[in-house]
């Protein structure tokens, strides 16, 4: 908190001294500034407890043999409820952390004229790939998007300036921008996870806040075994065993982003 306040004061000082026009903006939207200063930082949200789950590099396996539309709905609801993802009526303002799409959209470079029938309309869940080489982290001018040592690509909602450079950089369309106040469109607010304000980007965080208290990601819990989460660097982990025994693909592997999400087909 102390650190927060100091940063805020430093920021306010520089703003006032710096650009007159910007201090004017400060005045106009002071509610937001004060609100953000009083909120929890990324460090606090993801602070690890004694029973935290840890890994060298977190990864996910999606078993498309198990996936159904009903499971996709359950996972989406679990994720969006856990993370206070708003439900806007206007499609342009849409926020989504996890959703399902057709094979041809999830893997546009792997589409085929004579695709196995099962894949024609199979819902494929898509979300942030937590790339080992993330273009969004490279693009972010303020390090509001950053990569943790365990591979998670996370966001500091209070540092994000809303330039949306990360959204242009992401080759998977995994990021959403708050084009308007999200708080008006949250039905059952989860007090365990912060709500966001308008003008910042957000995306799937592999439930870093749940891992910190020893819980698996919400989508994994709701997936009826279709999603398997674990340590990609640990040869004994369940996901490594699955990958050893089954052929799996990743989205747009050719781009060199090295995604941490595998799809068993």
């Amino acid at each position: 908190m102390e650190n927060n306040r100091r940063n805020f004061l430093k920021f306010a000082g520089v703003t006032v001294l710096g650009l007159g026009s910007l201090s004017l903006l400060d005045g106009l939207t002071s509610d937001d500034v004060i609100a953000s200063a009083g909120q929890t930082s990324a460090e606090e949200i993801y602070k690890k407890g004694a029973n935290a789950l840890t890994a060298k590099r977190w990864g996910m396996v999606v078993d498309t043999r198990i996936i159904t539309a009903a499971i996709c709905r359950k996972m989406e609801n679990a994720c969006h409820q856990t993370h206070n993802v708003p439900d806007h009526a206007n499609k342009r303002h849409e926020i989504k952390w996890i959703w399902d799409t057709e094979y041809k959209h999830a893997f546009p470079e792997k589409t085929d004229l004579f695709l196995a029938e099962r894949f024609e309309h199979l819902p494929i869940p898509v979300f942030c790939n937590h790339c080992a080489n993330p273009p969004c982290v490279q693009a972010c001018p303020t390090q509001a998007t950053f990569q943790r040592a365990d591979g998670l690509v996370l966001m500091d909602f209070h540092r994000c300036i809303g330039c949306r450079f990360c959204m242009a950089a992401c080759p998977y369309g995994s990021r959403s921008f708050n084009f308007r106040d999200p708080r008006e469109a949250i039905k059952n607010e989860n007090p365990e996870f912060p709500t966001r304000m308008k003008g910042v980007v957000e995306k799937c965080n592999f439930c870093a806040e749940r891992l910190a208290v020893g819980k698996e990601p919400a989508c994994v819990e709701a997936s009826d075994g279709a999603l398997i989460f674990g340590d990609l660097e640990d040869p004994q982990s369940e996901i490594r065993k699955l990958l050893k025994e089954n052929y799996a693909i990743r989205r747009k592997q050719n781009l060199g982003t090295n995604p941490s999400v595998y799809y068993i087909v």
Partner: protein
């Protein structure tokens, strides 16, 4: 010298107040955007940059084009451009200020802009863009103001200005190169992922910027007692046509690579822009209009008799300027986002409030340009008297 902007004719003041009215109107829409969020624009989850960033990109080019006066005058001793040098630099200054305003207009959290300085991040191209843009603004402010002041006092410009002027040449190239790097280094965006983007940005800048400067010269001649000069305007018109042809050449190289290789990630965007994709083609008429304007501009400028007729020249310059504005603005930015990374087609078109905010930024730019040109013409008139 600024006091010269305070004495003007009735029509000067009417123009100033018209601009202030435009700025004020647009600013009310900006207040609405601050309150509601960027949702009042036509941007979406799929097309995350739109009209603002398009104008920003275009105006970086206009600013960089001042170098097309600096190189002939300072490096090749082409004296004629000395007469309009300051006009080019003042145009660069007002363009840079518009660029900064468009960036601020586009931010979701504008009051956090200084986070870019508080957490400097060299691996982000936006960090470098901020450095080169503010540096270029500073260079042009220092150089133009000191050179004009020296001219007013009938003394040669201070010696320490020379290295800064030489520095301004690579610096002008850098602002548009780094702006292109914002786009062309992104792995998933096939339309922008091309090494020709920065050269093409520069070529279109060296056509569009000087074309606008010619129009400004013709306006200044008409509304003031200062004549920028026929030779100057004619020389600039040759810069425009070289730039415009280079721009089209680079564009055709791009079209060839996309169409001959037929790699979908590259081809789809061009197809969307010029023919529509999966039944969506809101930009198709705009793109063909842009191409028609640019090509007609080139033809008119290539014919010496046409180019030498200043009425025809004005038309050719307006064609070139508007054509490049459409192509580089709307086409380049929206075209890169459609289709989206999941190969879905969600189109973009700016909304009324979005356009009004952009008009207000242009109004601010024109206000600054008017004041700066008033000072410039005032000094020239004082010297002539």
């Amino acid at each position: 010298m600024l006091d010269k902007a305070l004495k003007g004719s009735k029509s000067y003041w009417i123009w100033i107040f018209v601009l202030l009215g435009v700025i004020g109107t647009g600013f009310t829409f900006y207040l609405k955007q601050l309150d509601f969020g960027l949702g009042i624009t036509g941007m979406s989850r799929d097309v995350t940059w739109g009209f603002y960033i398009a104008q920003f990109t275009f105006l970086v080019g206009v600013a960089a084009s001042a170098v097309m006066l600096v190189i002939p005058y300072y490096l090749h001793n082409y004296k004629a451009f000395g007469r309009i040098m300051i006009m080019g630099e003042f145009l660069a200054i007002s363009s840079m200020i518009m660029c900064i305003l468009f960036i601020i207009a586009d931010l979701g959290q504008p009051m956090r802009l200084l986070n870019v300085l508080l957490y400097p991040t060299p691996h982000s191209m936006l960090f470098w863009d901020m450095i080169v843009l503010s540096g270029y603004l500073l260079i042009n402010l220092v150089v133009s103001w000191n050179v004009l002041d020296a001219e007013r006092n009938s003394v040669p410009p201070a010696k320490w200005l020379k290295p800064i002027i030489y520095l301004s040449v690579p610096w002008a190239i850098s602002i548009h190169t780094v702006t292109a790097y914002l786009y062309c280094g992104l792995p998933g965006r096939g339309f922008w992922l091309t090494a020709i983007l920065a050269p093409r940005f520069l070529a279109s800048a060296f056509a569009g910027g000087p074309a606008f400067l010619i129009l400004l010269c013709l306006i200044v001649r008409r509304v003031t007692n200062f004549d920028p000069g026929r030779e100057q305007i004619q020389s600039l018109s040759k810069v425009v046509v070289y730039g415009s042809i280079a721009n089209m050449f680079f564009f055709l190289c791009e079209v060839f690579v996309a169409m001959y290789s037929q790699i979908p990630e590259h081809l789809d965007h061009l197809q969307y822009l010029f023919f529509g994709l999966h039944g969506h083609g809101v930009l198709v008429p705009w793109m063909w209009t842009a191409m028609a304007l640019i090509v007609s501009g080139i033809i008119l400028l290539l014919i010496p008799a046409a180019r030498k007729n200043e009425a025809v020249l004005a038309v050719a310059c307006a064609f070139t300027f508007i054509g490049i504005w459409i192509d580089k603005g709307m086409g380049m930015v929206a075209g890169g986002f459609v289709p989206n990374p999941l190969h879905e087609v969600n189109e973009y078109f700016p909304t009324f409030p979005e356009v009004m905010i952009a008009v207000a930024v242009y109004g601010t730019g024109f206000l600054i340009l008017t004041i700066l040109y008033k000072v410039f013409v005032g000094v020239k008139e004082e010297l002539a008297a």
